[in-house]
């Protein structure tokens, strides 16, 4: 009689994929249960992260991309827009608010509507994209490396601060997240969830992935 191999006898089996449930306000955040760190099924609660970036294509306008990852940066879904360029009327009438409207409201909202896996938090590096916060209930935050934030703070970099209409900071992973003025409630909400993202997580890095993916899309599709 052959003895079973060690791996078989260890009883290791592929498990069904865990299903994450959604809440109304924050679709990516699995609701806490009894305040415990581990749910009944043994799976940890997760915070899905959305990384939103735009790039400008010479003469063709802007394209935007939204990457939804799990709490540790593994990609789940990616959406990007076709190029969009404001016309002259829009340029005149929107004036200084053109960029926030174009990037935040138009591109950001479209992408957020299109992703089937909704993030629990949207992170960007472009202050103009914070405008998206006025059109969604999902918290939108501006990521700054802690070193940058400290440098701004020490140098009293008013110009940099003025460009960021954000106020309260929350530390998630190795980044400081700033939120849109008037949406401090989001910061409070995130403070309760920040432990779901590993301390070592680099929230700047996925934004770089989005920029690369957008550049690849431009090269592959829109440059034809």
């Amino acid at each position: 009689m052959e003895s079973p191999s060690p791996a078989v006898s260890a009883g290791l089996q592929a498990a069904p994929l865990p299903v994450e449930t959604s809440t109304a306000g924050y679709p990516g955040i699995i609701p806490e249960r009894d305040g415990a760190g581990m749910s009944e099924s043994g799976q940890e609660k997760q915070l899905r992260l959305g990384f939103l970036e735009t790039i400008e294509i010479d003469g063709r306008g802007h394209i935007g991309g939204l990457l939804v990852t799990n709490h540790s940066g593994r990609p789940l879904e990616f959406q990007c827009t076709t190029p969009v360029r404001p016309n002259r009327t829009q340029e005149i009438l929107f004036g200084e608010t053109l960029r926030p409207w174009l990037l935040g409201e138009l591109i950001g909202s479209t992408l957020l509507e299109r992703v089937s896996i909704k993030p629990g938090l949207v992170i960007t590096s472009d202050p103009s994209l914070l405008e998206l916060q006025n059109h969604t209930t999902i918290p939108v935050a501006l990521a700054e490396a802690q070193n940058d934030a400290a440098a701004h703070s020490l140098a009293g970099d008013e110009a940099a601060s003025a460009a960021v209409p954000a106020t309260r900071c929350v530390r998630v992973g190795n980044s400081l997240l700033r939120f849109h003025q008037g949406h401090n409630r989001n910061a409070e909400s995130l403070e309760r969830q920040q432990h779901l993202v590993p301390e070592s997580a680099n929230l700047q890095e996925p934004l770089e992935r989005v920029r690369e993916a957008l550049a690849e899309t431009v090269r592959t599709v829109f440059s034809r």
């Binding site: 593994r74 997580a201 899309t217």
Partner: protein, 625 residues
């Protein structure tokens, strides 16, 4: 007709007065004095009636009829989407349930993280990104690779725990494998091909790119792979195909097993017996020690090529064991050349650049302790010398008498006979090599060191064992049952009194990690320098902390010196071929018939004296010389 200016002016005034009168009359319709002067035409008496003024209510317009308008509106945008495949999730380990005496559930807490040293803080963060392969054409395929996180963050702190931090070249290897449909990882022995492969498999499984993998390796290496999987990817379920036919059939068809390990012989036998429709399909087939399929007409090679699969990887430290054409067989398995395709050197070189990743220790492990090679040229003992000379003389005479019927087999037998005598004299048991070995081993054992000895013959190993009793020798060769081999290696590693491991080239040269041994003895020489290097690299590999001293025993004034000379030339050729691909390798790296004949000066009797005999090449070379 003429008119004076005064007359013209009068006429003009009169006309203006008429017009003025009508205008005044018209305007006066709305005045209080409706004095109307009507021309006496007699046709319209109604005009003599006084008009009756009245009022009509006209509602005021709230907005003007036309205003140029513009309203901001959402411009519909098109989107391009990519949903990444789900990866495999595994049953999480059961967390220990901690409860205090009063039944309150306790939760383990972690200590605060240590503050990194200043130097560590300043160290730039390494970032190895996965690049899309050149043959990935669709945007979705390319985005899939681009959107994966850097390997460092994927592996290190977050989801996948690694027992040790990989070296940067290993990260590059993992990323390269991950994005390769067809790949030949040909890193020099000891650089961690196993670990890179396991980690790439792990990432592919976790990212949902593959779900079923077959790993095919030589039978003695199966325990090694099992151990490495436990070390580097403990969560991966691995099943070894073994047992009787019915059990193996069950294992081949068993669903939900991500990784199957099987040896070449079983794969060949089982797939040959299975009908094509019954053959299991794999997302990835990995061939370890892939030089096993270098002969493309062998059953093993045919079966390996026929396994239904999507990706094909090959692993070997010696992609060219004998001649460059062997690469063609590997490329055929990798499905980058058509069946029976024979790429020429230029094509091979181009394919190698695309599908082979090879790094050498010199390039990637500059801080690795060196390997110190030393040749021990030993004169034979008097008994050995006598036996050797008699055997050589008689052997050459017998070969000469064979004349033109001589074959390489005849010469080969003589070579083997002479080599055995250089190891020890079968009559008296005298051995210059043994004397030197014992002397060296006394020093090594006194300092608590460990050594590995390789020989071509199990008979020599068995002969050595009782003579090295004081060093507690362990034996590892093809005669040792597979189940007993792992405990032997474990004992060699853990028992401080076990100072020497006696191994055969055939069994011990590949796949073993023995980097705790600081000394390697080559008791006799193998025919191929690549195999010798594989053997040496059991000890000189990643993780080695001290220099590895390699001692080659060469009996002076014997055939071993001649073999050593040829092997040196071969080694130079080998390095030229695999170093930068610029060599012109047209010859076998093993000793070929010409070279074996060339070890002796063989002459056939001839009516005019004697003439050289052997394969044509020898004669031609001699003539050319």
């Amino acid at each position: 007709m003429t008119s004076s200016p005064e007359a013209d002016a009068t006429a003009a005034d009169a006309t203006a007065a008429d017009v003025q009168t009508v205008s005044v009359e018209t305007l006066s319709l709305f005045s209080q004095t409706p004095t109307v002067s009507i021309g006496q035409t007699g046709f319209n008496p109604a005009l003599n009636r006084a008009p009756v003024p009245g009022t009509v209510d006209i509602p005021l317009e709230l907005r003007v009829d036309y205003v140029p308008a513009w309203k901001p509106r959402r411009i519909p945008l098109k989107c391009i989407g990519l949903t990444l495949p789900d990866g495999l999730e595994f049953v999480p380990e059961k967390q220990p349930q901690l409860k205090s005496a009063d039944g309150v559930e306790l939760r383990p807490i972690r200590p605060p993280r240590a503050q990194p040293e200043d130097a560590e803080k300043q160290r730039p963060e390494r970032c190895t990104r996965i690049r899309p392969p050149a043959d990935a054409l669709s945007l979705q395929d390319r985005l899939f690779y681009l959107l994966q996180p850097p390997l460092e963050s994927w592996l290190a702190g977050q989801e996948l725990i690694m027992p040790f931090e990989p070296f940067s070249y290993q990260y590059e290897g993992i990323a390269w494998l991950f994005s390769s449909q067809s790949a030949l990882l040909a890193d020099e022995m000891g650089l961690g091909k196993t670990m890179q492969t396991i980690t790439a498999l792990r990432l592919l499984l976790r990212s949902g790119q593959v779900r079923r993998i077959l790993l095919c390796c030589p039978k003695p290496l199966i325990p090694n792979w099992q151990r490495e999987f436990r070390t580097w990817a403990e969560e991966l379920p691995v099943v070894t195909v073994e047992g009787n036919g019915a059990r193996r059939q069950m294992l081949w068809q068993m669903p939900g097993v991500p990784i199957l390990i099987a040896n070449y012989e079983l794969v060949t036998r089982d797939f040959t017996e299975m009908h094509e429709d019954q053959q299991p399909r794999f997302d990835l087939v990995v061939l370890d020690e892939a030089q096993r399929i270098k002969n493309r007409d062998s059953n093993t090679a045919k079966v390996a090529r026929a396994i239904p699969r999507r990706r094909s990887w090959a692993l070997t430290g010696t992609p060219i064991e004998n001649r460059p054409e062997e690469l063609g067989a590997l490329f055929e398995f990798m499905q980058v050349v058509p069946p029976h395709g024979c790429p020429d050197m230029r094509q091979l070189s181009r394919l190698a650049g695309k599908y082979i990743l090879r790094r050498t220790k010199d390039l990637v492990m500059q801080d690795m302790p060196p390997r110190i090679d030393r040749d021990a040229e030993l004169p034979l003992t008097s008994a050995q010398e006598a036996a050797y000379r008699i055997a050589e003389k008689e052997g050459v005479i017998q070969l000469n008498e064979l004349g033109d019927s001589i074959s390489v087999q005849h010469v080969f037998e003589l070579v083997l006979r002479l080599k055995q005598i250089t190891n020890y004299d079968p009559l008296t048991g005298e051995s210059a090599k043994l004397e030197r070995l014992v002397a060296d081993m006394e020093e090594i054992a006194a300092s608590g060191g460990k050594a590995i000895l390789f020989s071509q013959w199990t008979k020599t190993i068995d002969w050595l064992e009782p003579r090295l009793r004081q060093f507690n020798p362990l034996i590892y060769h093809g005669g040792v049952p597979v189940k007993r081999r792992e405990p032997i290696l474990a004992k060699f590693k853990e028992d401080p009194d076990a100072h020497i491991l006696l191994m055969s080239y055939g069994t011990g040269a590949v796949g073993l990690n023995l980097q705790f041994a600081g000394y390697v003895f080559l008791f006799d020489r193998w025919w191929n320098p690549a195999i010798e290097d594989q053997a040496i690299n059991r000890a000189h590999r990643i993780g080695v902390r001290n220099p590895v001293i390699v001692t080659r025993f060469i009996s002076s004034n014997t055939i071993e010196e001649r073999i050593d000379r040829v092997l040196r030339e071969k080694r130079e050729l080998f390095e030229a071929v695999l170093g930068d691909g610029s060599g012109e390798p047209s010859r076998s790296l093993s000793l070929n018939a010409s070279e074996i004949f060339g070890l002796f000066d063989l002459k056939a009797r001839h009516k005019d004296g004697a003439r050289s005999i052997g394969p044509a090449a020898v004669e031609e070379e001699q003539e050319a010389a």
